[in-house]
Amino acid sequence: MRLEKCWFCSSTIYPGHGIEFVRNDANIFRFCRSKCHKNFKMKRNPRKVKWTKAYRRLLGKDMTQDSTFEFERKRNRPERYDRNIAENTLKAIKKIDKIRSDRASDHIKNRLKTGKIQRQKEARKQLEQDIHLVKAPLALAQDSSLYLPKIKVNVSQTRTEENQPMEG
């Protein structure tokens, strides 16, 4: 029994799933489900189809180089069965999986960090500029706790000055 990778989306194909297509030049294409198979028949390039691992790795959205990938290399030599080795391998698989998924999620988090910081900066700026949509400036001037500490000094002065001509 061997767990294969889908040619289109690179997910694992468990036994009993999927279709294997043998072309006349003896290239074997394995698909995990009919979605991938149909995309292949449409002659779509997996490197251009956004939900495939091939696309994500190509564009750097997913982790490409890591030492945990070495464990999954295809080995063509059959190993003699040894109970201890099998037991240790099963334990190791679990651990390696966990490490790999942690590293992958870290990679994604790091990638999204700059966007997050940018969004927070913009949100803060918007809060400064548009706070009058939420609370009346007069109420803000009276209740100083609603101010952000940073703008407390600047705004209170000018707003009270501006309000007087408006009200009058």
């Binding site: 194909i13 009993g16 799933h17 043998v22 072309r23 149909k38 002659k43």
Partner: protein, 150 residues
């Protein structure tokens, strides 16, 4: 590619394009039955062969089955001539065949290797990939001649 034969068709109907397109672009591959033309992939001399009977199987022959066929097209100097009735073993079928581990295999075309009544191949070479379903059907000779076993 085999499955794209029906892709390019004009759909004048107003029904949703997606369902019509997906229905027509999926060729339903079926059994090898009477009048099915198969490619011959050995050097016995024949090029194309038409099935006239599928031995075993009410609906038709599949991957690994034997058929009786009539030679429709042959090389000028070969062991078999046009019009001869021969036996053949299906080595590639476009219809998927279930494997014992639950997966399915399918090939790009329908191909056959000519054999005699005892099951020994007439030719001396086999071209293209062959499935290892042949081992179970005891066509070991064909497997040894094959260049690639799928």
């Amino acid at each position: 590619m085999g499955g794209l034969g029906n892709n390019f068709c004009n759909l004048p109907s107003t029904s949703s394009e997606m369902t019509c397109g997906s229905f027509l672009s999926q060729q339903q591959r079926t059994f090898i039955q009477m009048r099915t033309v198969l490619k011959v992939v050995d050097n016995s001399g024949a090029k194309k062969v038409m099935c006239i009977q599928a031995l075993k199987g009410k609906k038709g022959a599949r991957l690994g089955d034997t058929i009786i066929a009539s030679v429709k097209e042959a090389m000028p100097n070969g062991k078999v001539k046009k019009g001869k009735v021969v036996y053949g073993v299906v080595v590639r079928a476009a219809m998927q065949r279930g494997r014992c581990d639950g997966s399915e295999v399918k090939f790009d075309d329908n191909a056959v290797v000519l054999v005699d009544k005892q099951g020994q191949p007439i030719g001396t070479r086999v071209f293209g990939p062959v499935p290892h379903e042949l081992r179970q059907k005891k066509h070991v000779k064909i497997l040894t001649l094959a260049g690639h076993i799928a």
